[in-house]
Subunit: 210 residues, 4 copies
Amino acid sequence: MAQLTYEKEITGLIVVDPYNDFISEGGKVWDRIKGVAEVNQCIPHMEQVLQAARTAGIRVFYAMHRRYRPGDYDTWKYIAPIQSSARKSKAFEYGTWGGEIRSEFQPQPGDVVTSEHWGSSGFASTDLDLQLRKRGIEKLIVIGMIAHTCVEATVRYAAELGYEVTVVKDATASYSDDHMHAALAINIPNYASAVVTADEIVEAIAGGRK
Amino acid sequence: MAQLTYEKEITGLIVVDPYNDFISEGGKVWDRIKGVAEVNQCIPHMEQVLQAARTAGIRVFYAMHRRYRPGDYDTWKYIAPIQSSARKSKAFEYGTWGGEIRSEFQPQPGDVVTSEHWGSSGFASTDLDLQLRKRGIEKLIVIGMIAHTCVEATVRYAAELGYEVTVVKDATASYSDDHMHAALAINIPNYASAVVTADEIVEAIAGGRK
Amino acid sequence: MAQLTYEKEITGLIVVDPYNDFISEGGKVWDRIKGVAEVNQCIPHMEQVLQAARTAGIRVFYAMHRRYRPGDYDTWKYIAPIQSSARKSKAFEYGTWGGEIRSEFQPQPGDVVTSEHWGSSGFASTDLDLQLRKRGIEKLIVIGMIAHTCVEATVRYAAELGYEVTVVKDATASYSDDHMHAALAINIPNYASAVVTADEIVEAIAGGRK
Amino acid sequence: MAQLTYEKEITGLIVVDPYNDFISEGGKVWDRIKGVAEVNQCIPHMEQVLQAARTAGIRVFYAMHRRYRPGDYDTWKYIAPIQSSARKSKAFEYGTWGGEIRSEFQPQPGDVVTSEHWGSSGFASTDLDLQLRKRGIEKLIVIGMIAHTCVEATVRYAAELGYEVTVVKDATASYSDDHMHAALAINIPNYASAVVTADEIVEAIAGGRK
């Protein structure tokens, strides 16, 4: 991996959409993800990175998708395909188990849960950028779901905004190896300065802690 | 294709980075693109769509990458990989032939050339969105280079901003079929309401003109 | 007033911060506002405009300030003076009466309550712009609090984004006539295409309804 | 003044619109400004602050208004009052003396001239924020024209984006004392952490240089 450093004062961990609907058995989208996620041990790796960040004193930011509420999208003139899907599936429905954060990933005091995004980028129409900047964060470590949609979108926006980005490739997942390849091998390396494993980032974070 | 309509009052054609360095024989990046571009007849298709838009009275917007100037990026703390490449290659160098728009795609009176982007999205840190909105544009047709970087980024941002987007798949190109697949088959269909051929869009535009 | 029109399909009413803390007897900031607000009958005018918009089928959008929650601002490196004040006063504290919308202004089905802003502009770091655009809104009527901070900021951002803006001068208030003059006579006329009375906008809206 | 510090690595000087049309004898708008500008010695103070910033190694950023070009605004559906004025007066016309930076304020190597803004805020639809962030700038010192329009707008946006802002009150000017009062006494103190004199900022900068 690139020899990046992760000073805790300027590094933030972005956890993208750790909803039960995405990453828990029984979630609405889990069946489409679990093939990849079980092979690369995505969920344990997400936990591992989250724990390492907390231990190192790296602040944690949650980038969360809009939880479906009745009426959402109904009066929009235009709706992107991915929003049509969300509308149809009612993924992350507000007030349901699927719209809750998986228990192992519950926000802790000091974590920042940003306002919800309506598309894929955690930055679009939210306060994520403000919350990061207000704390002097310049470097991002990104984990979560789904590699080729929200994760890639958040990475692209982060790079356009000027952040230095690292993506943890076995702490994300998608519908197939083909989707993972598109996101992690084709696109994200143009925007993320490093694409690493959970083991690698945990070691690098621990190094930065010293 | 989806039965979209393209009313001239609310539709804009976005031409992404039609620089000689990208799309002309002798351009710095052309050798990496021409394999795909010659097979799908990208350049003639771009011309065909541009001509059809002009004939139909659809306004044309140019989303242009920063033309390299001495000193660019030199005092940046962080630089994304794709920006490092641009810095190294000096692609689209200001004042050189490579940094000029290929002759067939020269802006005409009434076209809008927006301010230059520093990353991949034509919207990031530019006036593209403002110029579109000020003219009541709600629907975008996107052509140009490169499919998996600037085109995909511009499409993603457009969808996040609320535009209805159509991408012309044989009026764009990339480094390989693998790159085209990642952009056009995996990612863009989540954000673009239609991914069509040049022939299809030309027919649809002509229909909207009636 | 300028002869603007307010077609219901493209016009939105923006209600800025109708919290009890601002506009109800007993609210934390009311004592500083009520001198002006009682003279210009701000609250009845706000109700009058809101009712007229609903009757005319003009959609209503609520631009709401961050309701104070414990920990807010605590880990920010920099805080603007107006944010320091909000932190100290705990204005609009979440879960308290002061942080609730005054009863006469409760959102109705079909209204849009946007995500909360941390400064003064209803657009900054929120989904207000997205929610407006997705419904084809191009023209805004702005009422609410406080004239020289959140109202002026929201008007300035709206104009920069390309909206046509109308401000209702007796459906807003501030700390003194001097503050009202700065906002309504000096600054806002550069950005709002019309600054009108409640009676004038009600008549214009009714006209647009025909 | 507040005891702010101005470390050169994280501080930027923003020079707003130092066009001949604004600040030179014979400029299109100078007659409306010179009453205030001559009394507060605005131009010499701007020079003094610019020189002090250069000496201290504080990077200089130019936030420049769109220079008028034929066709500008002609096909916009909506135009804000301040843009109508710019269109009518052709202020800062491209290719004319009025659209050039006054000679004493010419950019030097290492300065950053950002893309042009179409309204009042130096941040709206430009790369100003990107250029600042890419260099790690967190604190801004703002000078230039005009106090209640572009300067106030740029300050408001800066605060919303998270910057710590200082305004130099005798290195800006406006149409009257009333306009200066609205900007400098009523509005800007909510967003700028300090409003100081040129002498004060020069002393503070020199202190930060040690």
